[in-house]
Amino acid sequence: MTFTHLHVASAFSGHYGVTRPELLAEAAAARAERALAITDRNGLYGSIKHIGACLKLGLNPIVGVSLNILNNQDEPLARCVILAHGGDGGIGWSALCRLVSKANTVKRKEAGIRLEHLAKYVNRDGLTVATVLLGPDSNFGRAALTENRTTAAGILIQWLKALPGKGALAVEIATHLTEPGTAYSLTQARRMLQLADNIGVPTILTNAVRYLSPDDALTADVLDAARHLEPLGSFEPQPNAQGWLKPANLMHKLAEEITEDRTRAKKLLDTTELLAQKCELNPERDCGWGKPKTPEKALLGIDGNPFEVLWQKAHAAIDWRYPHAKEKKLLDVKHRLSKELITINQLGFATYFLTVADVAQMIRDMRIRIAARGSGAGSLTNYLLGISGVDPIEHDLLFERFLSTERSSLPDIDIDVESARRHDIYRAIFKRYGSERVTLLSMQSTYRGRGAMRDSGLALGLDEEEIDDIAKNMWRFSARKFRDAAESKPELAKLNAALESDRKMNLLVDITERLDRLPRHISMHPCGVILGDGNLLDLTPVETSGMGLPMSQYDKDDMDPMGMLKLDVLGVRMQSAMAYAVREIEKTKDIVLELDDIPKDDPQTFELIRTTNTLGIFQIESPGQRELTGKHQPTEFNDLTIQISLFRPGPMKGNMIAPYLDGRHGFAKPEYLHPDLKPILQETFGVVIFHEHVLRIFDKMTGCGLAKADEFRRSLEDPRVAQSVERFFKTQANTRGYGRDTIEKVWTILASFSSFGFCKAHGAAFALPTYQSAWLKTHYPTEFLAGLLTHDPGMYPRRLLVAEARRLGVKLLPIDVNKSSDEFLVQPIPGTHDFGVRMSLTDVKGISDSEVQRIIGEQPYLDIADFYLRAKPSRRTLSNLALVGALDELAKHSGHNRGDIMQRVKELNLLKNRTKDDPDQFAFDFDLKEQLPRGEDLTKEEKLQAELDILKMDVTEHQIEQFRPMLDAMGVINSSELLSVRNKSEVLIAGVRVATQTPPMRSGKRVVFISLDDGHGTADATFFDEAQARSSHILFNTRLLLIAGKTRRTGINGVSIMAENAWDLRTLWSEWSKRPELSA
């Protein structure tokens, strides 16, 4: 007995289907079915996963879509399943893709396609390439229930006329055994069957499936609520729980119940199987499954063999990348390049590399900064093609970690670009290759803890605040284990108590667990672009993305199976910040910098890094990295690569940091296990940190070759395969003469390493912008700070960058409506030859984009009235600007202070209209030479407070300075002095909290790290249990702190404070201000 389901919505039918495609396919395969369809709503979102699962399980895949069909007035006629025909060399598949794209790119509330358009896709040159199923959710299905036979028959005839091709239309008989006389009832099915038989339209049977098993119906109820954005009970719910993937015997029984006639039932089932066979896809021939797709050669400017072009291009670049290389070095380069190119050729990826190189060149031609990330930096070919900026030979990186003949999937080449220019690049790619070859990639986000709980709460109609309350306490556990978590986590104790008695809370927990991990909604992938040939849109459907460009309905996991080329173009704010700095340097100093060409051994740059004042430097500015910098004291580029790689979850968990530092500083003798391993592990003093180390060790001790070695490394993570790798390693190492002891020791390290290591190429790719940003900070701090402030790449608030600028002696120029823009410009300091950073208008609280643009557009202004009339600021913006001194320069010539300005602003803000057209009013209020009313000037403290309130930054001086008399009296020291006091001295430090971290500790005890900025740098304090208890009331919330503790040396340039207690600086200040000697 067999039955092929032709109408199945998977979980990728947003908020409708319940079951993931893989599970549906597994169920069908377990029942020994021959085929299974997936028909997601509005798109082919789950189709590639379905095809992949079917191929794996030996099922024949069928793909369709469920779409709204509209009349010419765009009124809905039906929701129909449209199934692509298969085995026709892809005509059916292409029609399906293109009609889905059509349904999704016209702006409508929900995707839909007009019947007359649909008809054109279904019929291609007289050939029917898809079948439309007219089911219960159609005007025909409804008429069969409510209208007389003639009317219903008339509607069916209209459909037949609209879709006249043979096999273009079938009536879908489906019943969920609902109440007689309603939709999906037996009555409806019987009437539809009779009408179709009378008119001669083929009929097929489906179960209009939404879920795998009846139990999932409850989840479908919740998804319905999420889709309607209304609680259950306030909309018409699904009629019952019959829409599941029923097995063949039940479907056959249904056929008999509908037809009440064995022969007719058999015919219905036979027609269903016939249609199924017509629709079975041949993934390779119909969908282009697994065949690599790249832009046509001509588009890349190639004629002839792409491999030869690649060969020439790469070789021609050797002079550019290695201009002064000696003969021996050139031989090395050429030898390695040949090896790489042979692999690339064997895999047939030449065009792929040329494509990526072409995009990289295009980005550079746009004068946008670009850097490679990830394992791609291990490839010399990438370096020569300008895709990567890291020399893999100099940094000892391995190609095999990136690409080898042992794996045939397209490698990921990820490139980082300036974040502010990312969308420009996307548009340029569309323009260069044509919109028929390019789409953005999409991303399916899934339900996780809080989202799952919010939608569950909505479905149950629970109070939003109550839900928020629980959601806030959902930390670090899977929603699938919500009930367990409620029992064990202290922060959920309240919920757990409610579970004793509260029925709705119990339901909430149960349905939250059900929603977890289901697809939630589709959005634009943050960096993926798909590049194909002219047929790309025959193979993937697209819809309109948030930024307006078309986006594929496939996600990143679908790329490899479909052989699609995905380019990751990731926006990185640091690249924008550096590009900005370079432009400001050129503008103000007339120096053209090629950041990628600066020597990577500048002693001053490393000197700066070693001070641990790394704020603003890529990757090494966090408190943890700063501490590590103090201990590590990097002196060369490779040190940066190592340091970045060490400070990752893996190496940290694998406890690699301490032994490495001990070796480096000579506290321990490096242990190499065997002289053969010394050359490999010398750079890290015997500690295995990099994937590249593992590859080399495998290769050295077994002679397996680096490509195979990478396969071994990957399989170490799978305990089932790891055993055979172990056998291979031990036998081979043994035959190559290594001692038993050595083999055991090395194996232990390799085995335990598997999940902890880091790819060195990735570390080196990151180290490049780290070095470049450090270099800029060393040599052009003003311009670099301007870039940081404008593009805000780091983890800290802007006010800390301001504090750092002050510490570095970079002059901060206040906001000035005549000189400020929407960026932090580098401008001359009046009366000097120096430059400073002009604060930007964008940080003024509440200022709108249009206000900013108006202010810039109307510059310069003569006086306050002129500004008021032409820049048209809102009342609040005007007074905010005045408060932070942005109008000071306008009144300076007439000798007025900020108090006078505030007075004037108050007057202006009282005016009802701002009319320029009335010259009388003009003459009355605004004389040519502005005379301001007198007001009381603001005190220094008031000015500082205004800056903090309005800009969230203390520009004129560090806010800690307002407490200076008290701090001096108490003997509080500056963070920059910490290094010069003796270890374990009792100290007091004060400052603004900039970071609070509570990393998980191996002991399980909580440790709190607080970083303070005091204008002289940053001080890091560690709070253990007792200190936490003493200062618990201010530990997490208070911003201005005084901390008492003992200094603790962590390295040559590293000091932290073991906190003993902490106080709120403001509280202390108000007490100190009241001290008796003041009143005396």
Partner: protein
């Protein structure tokens, strides 16, 4: 139409269709081919748990509509029965006049 909601004993044939039932000490014989359907339940109002694998009893319920008469009646009346599948529990819900 009279709402009843009383437990009844039901006799079924080989395919599970009711052929007769006993209600208030009277025996009723089914006189037509009964119609079966599944009606839904508003679990969010009634249920106390909804975890995975709880089954469909909290979501839907099997309904039967049939014509029947007891031995003293001349004409048939229409009845609706609820059948809880898992517990094999039958209740008479509606009697049509």
């Amino acid at each position: 139409m009279i709402r009843v909601d009383e437990k009844v004993a039901v006799a079924v044939n080989g395919t599970g269709e009711p052929i007769g039932f006993k209600w208030r000490n009277a025996n009723f014989l089914v006189a037509n081919k009964p119609m079966r359907w599944f009606a839904r339940r508003e679990w969010w109002k009634e249920a106390s748990r909804a975890q995975r694998g709880i089954g469909t009893d909290i979501i839907e319920v099997e309904m039967w509509r049939l014509l029947a008469s007891d031995l003293h009646q001349k004409s048939c009346q229409q009845y609706e029965l609820i059948h809880t599948v898992n517990g094999d529990d039958w209740r008479l819900i509606l009697v049509y006049p």
